[in-house]
């Protein structure tokens, strides 16, 4: 009986631990956010992500190798802030290299407004352990032209 208890506690503990860490990885940036504005934007961005991005880039942001590039731990996203915003605003065409793999699928413009693009960029930049740069604002998106 005692052994069973130990096993049970172990199973439960690992279950809680695993669900906690995966939840964490899915929905929260790895750093505590102090900036309320950014937090609010990320929250709205989460909904935009589910509606417009998730079917290709998947809930875990990992995409599909050689077809839809990853957003989680993505060197492209990290190093090409302006091009990423531009891609969301006007579509993204042509070859890009992401984490050493070549992607050449067309991403069409989704018809998002500037504030929605800012929100979803903030969500993507601060999810799945990403921590890419300062807050993207509506003004910054507005100023990026074709």
């Amino acid at each position: 009986m005692k052994v069973l208890n130990y096993i049970a506690s172990f199973v439960i503990l690992s279950f809680i631990l695993i669900s906690y860490t995966t939840e964490k990885a899915n929905y929260k940036p790895h750093k505590l956010l102090k900036n309320k504005e950014l937090q609010e934007s990320i929250k709205r961005g989460n909904q935009i992500y589910s509606d417009f991005c998730m079917s290709c880039h998947l809930p875990n942001g990992k995409g599909i190798k050689n077809t839809y590039p990853p957003l989680a731990n993505s060197d492209y996203l990290k190093n090409n802030r302006k091009a990423s915003i531009k891609g969301l605003k006007y579509g993204l065409k042509g070859e890009i290299s992401v984490n050493g793999n070549i992607y050449n699928s067309y991403m069409s413009p989704m018809g998002l407004s500037d504030d929605e693009i800012a929100d979803v960029m903030n969500y993507i930049n601060h999810s799945w352990r990403n921590d890419y740069g300062k807050i993207v604002t509506e003004k910054e998106v507005h100023e990026i032209i074709k």
Binding site: K93, S108, M110, G111
Partner: protein, 392 residues
């Protein structure tokens, strides 16, 4: 002493609590495992061809999302790009046609299908569906217009239908247009992401196949003309997101396919006033893996002619009626966005008996049609329009 007792008591309490939790977790895992289970797979699986007896030839290069295309009597093509461009293509030259109404571009919505009136060469009517923000409320919904083409411009535009209410949701606009042998016009609108309100309610738009006269008026014998508050243009309901529609070359009946969620894409032959079941019955499950209905059949709801599990994300469809392709006559072709191939479905007495993959890996297939010359043309995203040429 009291403290020790209390501790002991706590420990016992913890133990029983853990046992309870253990049972609870076991039950939860069991439920979630069974909820993740796929429903029945398709009755026939798609195969790779044993040998490939055709080549492809790019007819119109460099298109992004070529949703619809038609062949004009002079050999030109009219192509709708989802982002809102209507392209005229002749002798290798693309011209943008002006005068389209404003297109509401959001998610899956944009400029959608195009079709010619069966007597186009006499009357010049073109029919176009697109997402529009006309009317009240934020967002948009699917609209149908007809117009004529004059000097690279759309003229004489008539607004024939606009679904309401507008919605900012980016999902399920449809749309395809087709005419039957009696001159009725059919077009589809998806349920606009409002699964639980739209498709089963004939007083609401969306999640429906519509039937109109060619001038946009409601046919007198439409099924819901006497139903109080009904949208009288509705011909059938309980659809999710139909993006393929074609007239059967022999029976003249309208065949439609629609996207399911995860699994449960369907082919249906449309029947007047019938309920095709979404979302009360379905062979699909939620994208997350949970179920929204256990039922795949109920009285009063139509069974599909065929269902796809897993989903192929079907778009565009055509029957092969020409003799150009050996052994393919009478087959149904369906584009797959998800797996990037054209599915050739061999039918026997309205049953699918074989599925074969064509043009695999060339791009997401948005549309497929047989041209007036009998050849098969496919619109591939990011590629353009290609022609399938059989080997001699």
């Amino acid at each position: 002493m009291a403290v020790i007792l209390n501790k002991k008591h706590n420990f016992i309490f913890l133990k029983t609590n853990i046992m309870k939790q253990f049972k609870f977790l076991f039950i939860i895992s069991f439920i979630s495992l069974s909820a993740c289970a796929q429903k029945n797979k398709s009755t026939v699986e798609a195969e790779a061809p044993t040998d490939i007896n055709y080549t492809t030839e790019i007819v119109v290069p460099e298109l992004d999302i070529p949703w619809g295309f038609v062949f004009l009597p002079d050999g030109a093509l009219l192509i709708t790009e989802k982002t809102g461009e209507l392209i005229h293509f002749k002798n290798g030259k693309k011209t943008i046609i002006e005068g389209l109404p404003e297109v509401f571009l959001r998610g899956q919505g944009g400029l959608l299908d195009i079709e010619l009136h069966p007597d186009y060469s006499k009357n010049g009517w073109l029919y176009i569906t697109y997402a529009s923000s006309d009317g009240e409320g934020e967002g948009g919904n699917t609209a149908l217009i007809r117009a004529k083409l004059n000097d690279n411009k759309l003229t004489a535009i008539e607004h024939l239908y606009k679904a309401s209410p507008n919605s900012k949701l980016p999902y399920h606009f449809g749309s395809r247009i087709e005419f039957d042998n009696d001159g009725f016009l059919y077009f589809s609108i998806g349920e606009r992401g409002n699964r639980d309100e739209n498709p089963q309610d004939v007083t609401r738009d969306c999640g429906k196949i519509y039937r109109l006269n060619a001038d946009g008026s409601i046919p007198k014998d439409n099924p819901f003309v006497t139903t109080p508050n009904a949208k009288t243009a509705i011909f059938s309901y309980g659809h999710r997101n139909p993006q393929g529609m074609v007239k059967h070359p022999e029976t003249g009946k309208i065949w439609v396919h629609e996207h399911g969620p995860r699994g449960g894409d369907e082919i249906n032959i449309i029947q007047k006033g019938k309920n095709f079941g979404w979302p009360i019955i379905s062979y699909g499950i939620n994208y997350s893996g949970t179920t929204f209905t256990e039922k795949t059949a109920l009285p009063g709801m139509e069974q599909p002619l065929f269902y796809w599990v897993p989903s192929i994300a079907p778009s565009g469809m055509t029957f092969i009626t020409s003799n150009i392709y050996p052994n393919w006559k009478g087959n149904l072709l369906v584009g797959s966005l998800k797996f990037q191939y054209i599915e050739r479905l061999v039918l026997n007495n309205n049953k699918v008996i074989k599925r074969e993959k064509l043009l695999e890996g060339m791009g997401r297939v948005r549309n497929v049609r047989q041209g007036p010359d009998g050849y098969i043309y496919a619109a591939l995203e990011g590629v353009g329009i290609v022609k399938i040429v059989p080997n001699k």
